[in-house]
């Protein structure tokens, strides 16, 4: 957040560790290596906690939708409270979202973190599927190639 828009006016500030934080901002694309850290960070945060997903990349993959190393939808792995479009979103859009989130918290509308416990199997299954691969994804193809390679030799 730049000083021009100054989010500290609303009492929003960055925190050094996840254990002090209330809101997790996921700013854009998430690669597999980062996803592991995001899940860990999310789980470290004390309840109540909220997630703000930024930009197109967190909804449907954004411009990296066909990349082999970025996930396409953040909400499959951790529950998201509010999603903002844009690539990158303007600071105003982000502030608008933060203020909406504050209102949602006031009115009790925002409570996605409860979903994480209720649907833990769903989230866990998705996380494991992408993070703990035990066999190649394009498996058949690879085996064919190996056969081709050995037949040439």
């Amino acid at each position: 957040m730049t000083s021009r828009w100054d989010v500290e006016r609303f009492g929003i500030g960055p925190m050094a560790t996840p254990r002090q934080a209330d809101v997790l901002l996921v700013t854009g694309y998430v690669s597999l290596k980062t996803l592991k850290r995001i899940i860990r960070t999310y789980e470290q945060m004390p309840e109540p906690k909220w997630v703000l997903a930024f930009g197109s990349c967190t909804v449907n993959g954004g411009i990296y939708w066909d990349s082999y190393n970025t996930i396409t939808n953040l909400a499959e792995y951790i529950p998201v409270d509010i999603t903002v479009s844009g690539c990158m979103p303007r600071p105003e859009a982000v502030m608008d979202a933060l203020q909406t989130l504050m209102k949602m918290i006031q009115s009790g509308e925002a409570g996605a973190y409860k979903k994480y416990k209720e649907n833990y199997e769903y989230y866990k299954a998705n996380q494991d599927r992408v993070l703990r691969k035990t066999y190649p994804i394009l498996g058949e193809k690879l085996i064919q190639n190996e056969e081709a390679a050995t037949s040439i030799e």
Partner: protein, 162 residues
């Protein structure tokens, strides 16, 4: 200059700064006021608008889109029984590069200066439904709703593509 080595004019500097406009823009009370028009720049690439009367459904925007963000949706049939198609923009993919605006042959697809689009996730939905809910909400068929404040619009003469 060492620390604490202050000029005798220091109080004057304070006075001068007192009447200066602050750098901070008190959004949402006030908006950016740096361009001839209020708000973002005159040619900002924001959310799309589409003049559905002028749009012929040629799918040129779909073909140029680098990130496969545009889908041609069938919205009806014309007299010859051909399907009428209009573009649907998936803001879960769009990168606001404005290539689709450049390539539009009828100049119907434009980009407005609006940029705020957010979706609150519904608490009562289950995790799986929520994913589909947000994905679905981010797919919009642009129309003239935002038309009062159109921004990025390459005229015929200025076109880069097509």
């Amino acid at each position: 200059m060492a620390l604490g080595d202050k000029s005798v004019y220091s109080p004057l500097t304070t006075l001068k700064n007192l009447f200066k406009r602050p750098m901070t823009i008190k959004y949402p009370k006030e908006i950016l006021r740096v361009f001839p028009k209020e708000g973002v720049s005159p040619n900002y690439r924001g959310l799309h608008t589409n003049d559905l009367e002028k749009c012929v459904g040629c799918a040129a925007c779909q073909r140029i889109c680098p990130f496969d963000a545009i889908e041609m949706k069938i919205i009806g049939q014309n007299e010859q029984g051909r399907a009428i198609k209009k573009p649907v923009v998936d803001y879960g993919r769009c990168s606001f590069c404005a290539f689709c605006v450049d390539v539009c042959p009828t100049n119907s697809l434009k980009m407005s200066r609006h940029y705020i689009y957010k979706i609150k996730t519904v608490k009562s939905l289950s995790a799986k439904d929520e994913v589909e809910f947000v994905k679905d909400k981010f797919r919009i068929m642009p129309d003239e709703k935002l038309g009062d404040d159109i921004g990025y619009n390459t005229g015929k003469a200025k076109k880069v593509l097509g």
